[in-house]
């Protein structure tokens, strides 16, 4: 049994370890049981924080969400679960993308959370609701933005939407971050430059290169204005 021990050592060692095991199970026998009895404990049942129930878009008390309709989540989604319907509106003489409908198909979602991690504004998140069963498949397609909601008033306003090319969309998403976390601006700024430079190297298409550069400068402006104030 125990090759490194002699006969009696092995015997007593075995007895001792069995006693330890028996003690452990006996302690377990009297501990509070962890079984959740679901339909009965519906009221007090709380899923753990990292549980991915379904995708939601949190709205504040003024019925405002944070989504700028950039569409990154839609692009990240491996299953085409998300469909962001947006429209162009003109604000202060500048064209701007605005969210019309944020469609989320729970039926095809695989809860990988790529959309949430990709979202630059933390506009979407997973909640802990798990009672997702419905009788009709069409009910699984949910519209996440509440009716009449609008985007939260943040300096995202002055953003001319570039041509809907895949790459450029990523840089504007990157840009607004410094505003949210003011002290970090110094660190963030070089990073954005680097990203822009990277896209330049990778994609030598003229429009693709032009767009991010334009973006960065545009977004920087409100920043400086704010600082001046």
């Amino acid at each position: 049994m125990y090759k490194d021990k002699n006969y009696f050592e092995g015997l007593f060692c075995g007895v001792k370890s069995i006693c330890i095991g028996l003690k452990t199970t006996m302690r377990e026998f009297f501990t509070k049981k962890i079984t959740e009895q679901y339909p009965e404990n519906r009221k007090e049942l709380k899923m753990f924080d990292r549980f991915r129930g379904s995708l939601v878009m949190p709205h504040n008390e003024k019925n405002e969400h944070k989504c700028v309709a950039c569409g990154i989540c839609q692009m990240q989604c491996p299953n085409d679960t998300i469909n962001v319907v947006s429209e162009m509106v003109e604000v202060d003489g500048k064209k701007k993308k605005q969210l019309v409908r944020y469609e989320y198909n729970l039926g095809s979602c695989m809860f990988c959370m790529l959309c949430v991690t990709a979202c630059p504004h933390k506009a979407i998140t997973f909640d802990q609701s798990f009672e997702n069963a419905v009788f009709d498949r069409s009910k699984l397609i949910k519209v996440l933005n509440k009716p009449g909601s609008k985007v939260e008033e943040k300096p995202v306003v002055k953003k001319t939407a570039p041509a809907p090319a895949a790459k450029p969309a990523e840089t504007p998403a990157e840009a607004p971050k410094p505003e949210a976390v003011a002290p970090k601006t110094a660190e963030e700024q070089p990073r954005i430059e680097a990203v822009a430079a990277k896209t330049e190297v990778e994609q030598p298409k003229p429009e693709a290169v032009a767009a991010p550069k334009e973006e960065t400068t545009k977004v920087e402006q409100p920043e400086t204005e704010k600082a001046a104030e």
């Binding site: 049994m1 006969y7 015997l11 069995i18 095991g21 028996l22 452990t24 199970t25 006996m26 377990e28 026998f29 501990t31 049981k33 962890i34 079984t35 009895q37």
Partner: protein, 359 residues
Amino acid sequence: MFDFSVISQWLHTLLLSFLPEWATILVESVIVALVIITLYAVFAIVLIYMERKICGFFQCRLGPNRVGKWGLLQVFADVFKMLQKEIIKMRQTDRFLHDLAPFFVVTASMVTFACLPWNKGGHMIDFNIGIFFILAVSSVSVVGILLAGWGSNSKYPIIGAMRSGAQIISYELSIGLTMLTVICLTGTMQISEIVQQQSELGWNIFRGHLPMVIAFIIYLIAGNAECNRGPFDLPEAESELTAGYHTEYSGMHFGYFYLAEYLNLFISAGIATTVFLGGWAPLHISGLDGFNGVMDAVPGIVWFLGKTFFVVFLLMWERWTLPRLRIDNILTLEWKYLMPISMLNLVLMALLVAYGLYF
């Protein structure tokens, strides 16, 4: 203490008053058989429920709790499901042996079951070589298991059956030696005598102190191995052999193996109770007459069942604590550890008895 033989005597004379003797014995045999089968089924249900609950509690969960209050009807549901299932007839099996095997297993365990002393005077089979008879009859289940493995004509069952054969035959030695230790102390093999003696002189585990405690522990380990349970469930190791020797069985044929497994657990606990913990004998502490009087008021069957279920609990505790052993470890444990220890124990017991160093 209530003597159950009053009832059996009364029944006997009642039947004799209007039946010839051969018919009386026939009727009595049928009644006893019915009682055995009923008790067998009832205890199987109780034990399966108990096992599932206790297993759950050891694993920090609640066990069955949906069917009926506290899941009490769960086992009934399982049994009815089992009864409804088809007994699948497979090609290329030895049909006769395949169908015969469960009956060997279940018959062996039923006959052993009938040997247990339920109460004072409440024995079904009782004669002067009782323990020897139990050992002999309980070994018949090995034949059933080997037949099941052989008759299935399939790989997993034959491996399971071979393991079971090696294991049960090995552990039979330890059981035999511990029983010899007990007989050395009691001087009789008749079960009613052994229990009667314990009710007068104290439980064997107290009378024979050290060697009896060692024998009791060895019996618990070997008894668990005899039932193919606990860390010794290699013959049906589900992760390697799907279900071992009963892989190819379905419906009630599988049900018989299942019943026999649980009843064997009860039987080995019952025998441990009978020979070590005094069977139906109440707990007496010499000098405390009031306490002894209270203990005497509790009926013998309650004592017997209480002690037996306590031992069943010990066996389940052991089972749900230890992981499954490898086959060579099992044989090492028996041949290198348990058997030498129980031999030495027997010598020790013989010395104690020879010098009168017991209570």
